[in-house]
């Protein structure tokens, strides 16, 4: 296929008629009089250190396939799952595979030269381009019909407290990494701080009014005015809070389990808190795009709750022949897959506010990784497991592509939102446009 060809050429080559265009490109229908466009959402979930080829990828291609051990948790959603094999990160340049793996994953473009030295290759800095989640967020925020309070939210779980190439996946522009929030309480404050504030404020107004009255009796008549003014403003505030309650966000402020510390062993609890918050934030329509980053590229979570005491990254270097380690790695990836399944379940059981179906009907989750395989550090066959019906992709399938650059998948995500980019990231890897056969 002519990699440099335009999307139009590609379509012409396929012989697709103009009428089928929206379908192929997964554009929202342009039919006149459609009452409202459905809300569309995207979540990109990340876990590190590659996957175990034998226990991850289904053997079959097409709509009949068996989920292997790593992906078993997705069984309830198999008909809403799309597994893409053969998608490769072709971006090269400065930085080692882990750095490029995460830094180019959503940006599709090289890292800048810099001072961060990896385990091999030359030192590098931040990515030189915007990431696809931020690109789509900007697209949605431009249109008043799809604009939301935050546009996008960046969730994390146990992301190390250092900003470097290995810990950042989302970029708002060249050299502009976006830090994920891995503290659920911090995220809660960001989402619901205002509502909570109003609640607390409302709770002190009675005491305040009472004390104002007492102070008022103490001062002379000439000085009462200032107290009367304050009293009037307190009453006003009371009324304002009352009327704010009338137009809340369609659901109650979620109650968060208090006091969960940021600690390796608490990862399952943190993950649940973050997932619940993510679902609530979508329910409230605070954002239509989210990233969800577990640890970081080279992440070394110790999954003691699975009886695995080594760090994830160290284990991932073990050879294929080390079956004990491979078995552990499979369990680690299965645990991540369980997190994905829980997220999908929560979305599936949450009705779409003001619309039909569930949140999962209008959300696409893409689970990915910085590497194809941990012990080879390959950027080929980067896992992309998609769940949900947000972008109108034909789900319930397992696909194998002949080594297509992942930029084309990034383009497909944008097109899924009706954002018809012709190229994204390094144009050399966008040749044939969005991936065929997704819709």
């Amino acid at each position: 296929m002519n990699e440099r060809g335009s999307r139009r050429e590609f379509l012409r080559d396929l012989g697709v008629s103009a009428a089928a265009l929206p379908f192929v490109l997964n554009l929202p229908s342009l039919a006149a009089g459609e009452p409202t466009r459905r809300k569309q959402r995207l979540i990109i979930m990340f876990s590190p250190n590659g996957v175990q080829v034998p226990t991850f990828w289904p053997d079959e291609v097409g709509d009949t396939f068996t989920l292997k051990e790593s992906l078993k948790p997705l069984e309830p959603f198999q008909n809403r799952t799309l597994i893409l094999n053969g998608v490769c990160d072709r971006v090269r340049g400065d930085g080692d595979s882990h750095m490029r793996g995460i830094g180019c994953l959503l940006t599709g473009i090289e890292l800048f030269p810099g001072n961060v030295q990896g385990g091999s290759d030359t030192p590098a800095g931040w990515s030189s381009g915007i990431s696809i989640d931020q690109e789509i967020k900007n697209f949605l925020q431009r249109d008043p019909a799809t604009r939301t309070r935050f546009g996008s939210l960046e969730f994390g779980v146990m992301v190390p407290e250092r900003a470097d190439t290995w810990t950042r996946m989302s970029y708002s522009g060249p050299n502009k990494p976006v830090a994920p929030v891995d503290n659920p309480y911090q995220m809660f404050t960001r989402l619901y701080g205002r509502a909570k504030d109003q609640e607390h404020l409302a709770s002190v107004l009675d005491e305040l009014a009472e004390d104002l009255e007492r102070v008022r009796t103490r001062v002379g008549a000439q000085d009462r005015q200032i107290l009367d003014e304050q009293m009037a403003l307190v009453r006003q505030l009371e009324r304002d809070i009352q009327s704010d309650r009338g137009r809340d966000m369609g659901h109650a402020v979620p109650a968060l389990e208090p006091g969960v510390r940021r600690d390796n062993d608490n990862m399952p609890r943190i993950s649940k808190l973050q997932t619940d918050l993510l679902v609530s934030s979508f329910q409230a329509d605070f954002a239509r795009v989210a990233t969800y980053q577990f640890t970081n590229s080279v992440g070394g979570a110790r999954m003691r709750w699975l009886d695995i005491n080594q760090g994830h990254h160290d284990l991932s270097h073990m050879p294929d022949s080390d079956t004990t380690s491979q078995e552990k790695l499979t369990r680690i990836n299965k645990w991540y897959c369980e997190q994905l399944a829980y997220l999908a379940k929560r979305l599936a059981e949450t009705p779409e506010p003001g619309g039909a179906g569930s949140l999962l009907d209008n959300t696409l989750i893409g689970w990915t990784n910085e590497l194809g395989k941990g012990n080879s550090h390959t950027l080929n066959n980067i896992p992309f497991v998609l769940v949900g019906n947000g972008l109108g992709f034909r789900m319930g399938r397992s696909l194998k592509y002949p080594a297509v650059p992942h930029n084309r998948l990034l383009l497909s995500l944008a097109h899924g939102f009706g954002h018809r980019l012709e190229k994204f990231g390094n144009p050399d890897f966008c040749g044939a446009g969005p991936l065929n056969d997704l819709t």
Binding site: F112, H200, D211, T217, G259
Partner: protein, 799 residues
């Protein structure tokens, strides 16, 4: 700079005719001044001089009886009819001067009183900062300046690689490929950590700028979270910025880390033999309304102070219609700002609860300890010991029925910071007890809370006599917060507190750029800093010292000789012309147009702020005569031409001759001998409210006059008092102005003792103690005491 042209209106000129024709005498009986006034003046001016529909301006001012009589004889009543002249004019002038015209009469009519007002914005920010800060270790600083630096011969500050520790005056380094300490090692890799504090002069947004081609991190105030994290060097980004809102007169901890090395995986083993990269690092800032530049040495401290809490909520400006900050009404904007600030503070307190309360999250007795913390918090916020009654309302109730103690703390903080007991001041009129005396001292001197020592003294009954109060005031006046407040007073006295943006005509003053403007401001502030830190500084010195702080850039522009690269130092500048802060080039440049001086603006500054004269704002705006249209005239001549009319002269007769004395200084405050080829005329004159007119040969003579004028001294003392206390001086008794002036003179016009005397006067004022929080809805004693006495005139309209 561009002024909106403001010329002064005619205070007394009437435009209304309708004169009551009257006779001076009826049946040979001589009329009194009052009778004449009723017959001929009251129709327009109102029976009490309050004005009427035809003429709304109240008849008040500070002219002497003689001046008034002369004016009346010339101009009153307006219109073609017979004027009120001679003995009649004298009579009526005397009457109205004593009845309502003069400031004294006004004071009598409307006795000044200590009014309940809300704290000022400055007080809000400082009170909250010190309230939260009172739960952290106190970290005073001394005169040492610069940052403490540690140098390491490896990339990550390892103790075994430490080369040396020293104090660096600032962070402006270009090491090139050299090694930063002179020690013998291969400078492929090194790291440096600077620690200390930054002392910020003004309140506002500070931008910090780190420039380097290597790894750097900067922390300001919050030492957990860097404001600049440039540890990853990427592409050609070499400049990193972060903005922070900070409160002036305070210090904030800073840390700067620098590492010349690749980060990530250690590659130091592979570096031998490779070319050494260059390295440089600069730490600059841009203070509010100032040009960006290196953080100067005098703003860096080698000691690390405690983190400070900063309220960033935007407040509406305080009411300054009285000439000082004082707000006796609450606007919606102010109320909203206090809500915002309360939420912000509550959030901060909860986030730092362990640090502030000392109660670990997992402590079993945490709820009890948090409750105790809250009691302390409420008591400190209300500036007095907590009664059981108040503890019930402000502490116990928020804790009731809340399972999460952090939520309870949040409610306590919100309740306290919205309470009138926190937001309002002078609820008790006078200082009823030692606690209130302490509050007044702290508000007046620091715009903040009493510190531990003051609270102790109050509790021990050691604030009972004026001498005891004065001793505390003396201690407190030496504190940096008091100095910062006094510095702000001088900026306001010189009317440059808004930090006007100085822009000059680039054709006439090509060298005058934003950097010069910023340096000039720094120069003035250094002068003021010197004055406020010196306990012996006097009012006289403000008018006579001709030293100006200059750096190399300013020296070049103002014709002084300083070595290349010289930083700010006091320079004896043009003793034949300069005399005191009024002749500081920044002040002169601020009171000037972009291309020419402005004797009117300078004159108004002197008349209003320095001599304490009341001038009404102009009724109408005038555009100054253009220089181009009058190429042969000097500025003085142009001003005379434009304001020569008799009507203008009512005010400009006072203003111009004061401003003219500064005509030797051009639009950037540089000395000049001639203008448009003509020698400048710097003679001037002044007619004080009492006594005979004075003539001045130049501004130095004016300064000499001010140094001797008791009228000017009294005006200065009153102004300073009111700035500090936020209440009218006369509210502290009819004798208060005279007492304060006397004390000022007796101290040979020492500034520190005027400050001490002022706050002592305000804080010692005793009113009968009031019932505290009586729940009974009966008129309190305060109410009874304050009700207007029978026959007492009601306040005049328009006042």
């Amino acid at each position: 700079m561009k002024f909106r042209p403001r010329f002064l209106a005619l205070a007394l000129l009437l435009s209304v005719a309708g004169v009551v024709s009257a006779q001076t005498s009826r049946g040979g009986k001589k009329l009194t001044g009052e009778q004449i006034y009723r017959q001929r003046c009251a129709a327009c001016h109102g029976p009490q001089g309050e004005g009427s529909k035809q003429y709304g301006k109240p008849l008040t001012g500070d002219r002497s009886v003689g001046e008034l009589a002369r004016f009346i004889a010339q101009a009153m009543p307006p219109g073609p009819g017979r004027k009120c002249t001679g003995e009649d004019a004298q009579q009526v002038a005397q009457y109205l001067h004593g009845a309502f015209y003069s400031p004294v009469a006004q004071a009598r009519l409307r006795p000044a009183r200590i009014e309940v007002s809300h704290i000022t914005v400055r007080q809000y920010r400082n009170l909250v900062a010190d309230l939260v800060g009172s739960f952290r270790p106190a970290t005073p600083w001394d005169e040492r300046r610069g940052l403490r630096a540690e140098y390491f011969r490896s990339r990550r500050f390892q103790q075994r690689d430490r080369l040396l520790e020293r104090v660096d005056p600032d962070v402006q380094f270009d090491w090139g490929t050299a090694n930063p300490t002179g020690a013998e090692f291969d400078p492929h890799q090194f790291s440096i950590r600077w620690q200390g504090s930054v002392l910020v002069p003004d309140t506002g947004e500070y931008e910090f700028v780190v420039r380097t081609e290597h790894a750097a991190r900067l922390w300001v105030n919050d030492l957990q979270q860097p404001v600049v994290d440039a540890w990853v060097k990427s592409g050609s980004d070499n400049e990193f910025r972060a903005s922070l809102f900070l409160v002036g007169g305070r210090a904030y901890p800073v840390r700067l880390e620098f590492s010349k090395a690749n980060q990530g995986v250690d590659d130091s083993g592979k570096l031998a033999g490779r070319p050494v990269k260059k390295a440089a690092l600069r730490l600059d800032w841009r203070p509010p309304k100032r040009a960006a530049g290196p953080i100067p040495r005098h703003c860096l401290l080698p000691g690390t102070v405690s983190e400070g809490f900063v309220v960033t909520a935007a407040f509406p400006p305080d009411d300054r219609s009285m000439g000082y900050e004082r707000s006796t009404t609450i606007s919606k904007e102010w109320n909203d700002a206090t809500t915002e600030a309360a939420l912000e503070t509550a959030g901060y307190v909860v986030e730092h609860l362990r640090d502030l309360s000392g109660a670990p999250e997992d402590a079993e007795d945490r709820p009890a300890r948090l409750r105790e913390f809250c009691r302390q918090f409420v008591s400190r916020a209300f500036r007095r010991p907590l009664t059981d009654d108040l503890a019930r309302v402000y502490v116990e109730r928020p804790f009731e029925g809340v399972s999460d103690p952090e939520a309870a703390v949040r409610r306590v903080v919100l309740g306290v910071l919205k309470s009138p007991r926190f937001l309002l001041r002078d609820l008790d009129g006078g200082a009823a007890d030692g606690a209130e005396t302490a509050v007044r001292l702290a508000l007046s001197l620091w715009d903040s809370l009493p510190d531990a020592e003051l609270t102790r003294a109050a509790a021990a009954g050691e604030l009972a006599t004026p001498d005891q109060v004065a001793r505390q005031a003396e201690r407190m006046a030496a504190d940096p917060r008091a100095r910062a407040k006094l510095r702000d007073f001088f900026l306001q006295w010189l009317k440059v507190d808004g930090a006007p943006e100085l822009q000059k005509d680039p054709k006439r003053f090509p060298v005058f750029d934003p950097l010069v403007a910023s340096d000039l401001r720094t120069s003035l502030e250094l002068t003021l800093d010197e004055i406020v830190s010196n306990p012996d500084a006097s009012f006289d010195r403000l008018w006579t010292d001709n030293r100006v702080f200059l750096n190399e850039r300013l020296a070049r522009l103002y014709g002084a000789k300083l070595p290349a690269g010289a930083s700010f130092q006091a320079v004896d500048m043009e003793p034949e012309a300069r005399s005191g802060v009024l002749t500081h080039p920044y002040v002169l440049a601020s009171f000037a147009y972009a291309d020419s001086s402005s004797p009117i603006h300078r004159g108004v500054l002197i008349a209003r702020n320095m001599l304490g004269r009341l001038l009404r704002p102009p009724q109408q705006a005038f555009t100054p005569l253009s220089v181009e249209l009058h190429p042969n005239l000097t500025t003085r001549e142009r001003v005379q031409l434009q304001t020569g009319a008799k009507g203008c002269q009512t005010c400009h007769g006072l203003i111009n001759p004061l401003g003219f004395t500064l005509e030797r200084f051009d639009a950037i405050g540089r000395l000049r001998q001639a203008e448009n080829g003509k020698p400048v005329d710097v003679s001037g004159a002044y007619q004080p409210s009492a006594g005979s007119a004075v003539r001045f040969a130049d501004s130095r003579a004016l300064a000499q006059y001010v140094v001797q004028s008791s009228e000017a001294h009294a005006a200065f003392a009153e102004r300073l008092f009111q700035f500090l206390v936020n209440q009218p001086l006369r509210a502290f008794g009819p004798q208060a102005p005279a007492e304060l002036s006397k004390a000022f003179e007796e101290s040979k016009r020492n500034l520190r003792s005027l400050v001490v005397r002022s706050v002592t006067l305000a804080a010692s004022e005793r009113r009968p103690s009031l019932p505290q929080d009586s729940p009974v809805r009966a008129p309190s004693r305060a109410e009874v005491r304050r009700a207007p006495r029978q026959g007492e005139p009601m306040p005049m309209p328009n006042q």
